[in-house]
Symmetry: C2
Subunit: 231 residues, 2 copies
């Protein structure tokens, strides 16, 4: 993959190495989210504990990639497209780390509500979680290829995730009204649903950084039409 | 205020200008949060609409400060403490922008639940909101002086905010159980409470960036003891 033009092959290798680390981090976060969902679905507290235990790996990757980015700025003084890549990476890893936190949150629900009596609440999260994982997978794929068209496709998926989220919340509200003594448990599931819905927003953020890197335009806070005009 | 040593007075002026913009942005965000709280408390939908309308100003400041930071990296090639300042600013404005979103969320509750019958739910948010605003005010003050001791003090305030948040949620849960048909309205207030609780986390993030700038150590994901050892 060719970034901006620069003479140093070493510099290129450094940028490539950081990019690879971001993808490794993304893969780990995707796995954490997927394990957390499985743990909730299969009532597997052991797997849930593993997710909680492994969160520090995600955090450590964020810190080390951030350091590598700062070092490359200080040492290589990147400009133009190289600098945009570093900036896009610095922002992307913040969102990835927060998605990692969502996995931990879901894992805690699996640990704290292990009994099968809550299964019907848990089940409602699965399609939502599955969609969020698919969205994350696709945005990481777009990031790997720095493909704006793929990023634009992922961006649109958030509407579907939002619709699914609204349906889950409505369903959980019905459970609350039917059985008010379950409100505290159902609230925990609702917080998780909301956290998963936010994964979609974070994936959209990463789409924006991909567009920023490739097109050199900051499209945050623009509406979909304005973004499409830039693409 | 003296940052790293460098010959260019112009460079110093540029850094100072960016820092001033961050403080202006912080002041605007604090005002937004304060107006949103007033709007909710006094059932003032006009003020709430102003908060929603003004959110774009916060967003525009984020984008323009980010651009200024990228420009200064490309043009001035900062290293050491200067670079840490730029990095700290890039991260700080992301958190400030998200706190701005919290203000908008509260404003929407004020717009969508204008009738006085929900006042008792709204009222429960006020002490929480007041604490969050105080925490934001103090962290901006610590940022203005790049004062690690002040940052460490603000950091600790989050425990109090979390305790207040738990109390609010418990109270709102009681309302839900008493009157299940009000569950949808109360949920809106709960989402707001949660968003306000997150303001505390974001203020803690900013404390971490201040420590990073002054001490040169990334203290994210460390526990309080480890952070105290660095201070």
């Amino acid at each position: 993959m060719h970034f901006g033009r620069h003479i140093s092959g070493q510099f290129n290798a450094e940028l490539e190495s950081i990019r690879t680390h971001v993808l490794t981090m993304g893969g780990l976060v995707e796995q954490q989210l997927s394990f957390a969902m499985q743990a909730l679905h299969k009532d597997d507290t052991e797997l849930a504990r593993k997710v909680v235990r492994d969160d520090h790996k995600v955090n450590a990757m964020e810190v080390s990639i951030d350091e590598a980015c700062t070092r490359i700025i200080a040492k290589r003084q990147p400009t133009a497209k190289d600098l945009r890549l570093v900036m896009a990476i610095i922002k992307t890893i913040t969102d990835l780390e927060r998605i990692g936190d969502v996995a931990t949150r879901i894992a805690y629900v699996a640990i704290e509500q292990p009994s099968t009596k809550h299964q019907k609440f848990h089940v409602s999260l699965e399609p939502l979680c599955r969609q969020a994982i698919a969205m994350l997978h696709q945005v990481l794929d777009a990031f790997a290829r720095m493909d704006v068209d793929a990023a634009a496709e992922v961006y649109k998926l958030d509407d579907k995730l939002d619709a699914e989220y609204e349906a889950v919340i409505r369903q959980l509200m019905t459970y609350m009204m039917e059985d008010p003594k379950n409100i505290p448990n159902i609230l925990q599931v609702m917080w998780s649903a909301r956290a998963i819905e936010r994964v979609g927003d974070r994936c959209q953020n990463i789409c924006e950084y991909i567009i920023y890197f490739v097109k050199g335009k900051d499209v945050r806070h623009l509406d979909e039409k304005a973004i499409n005009d830039i693409l």
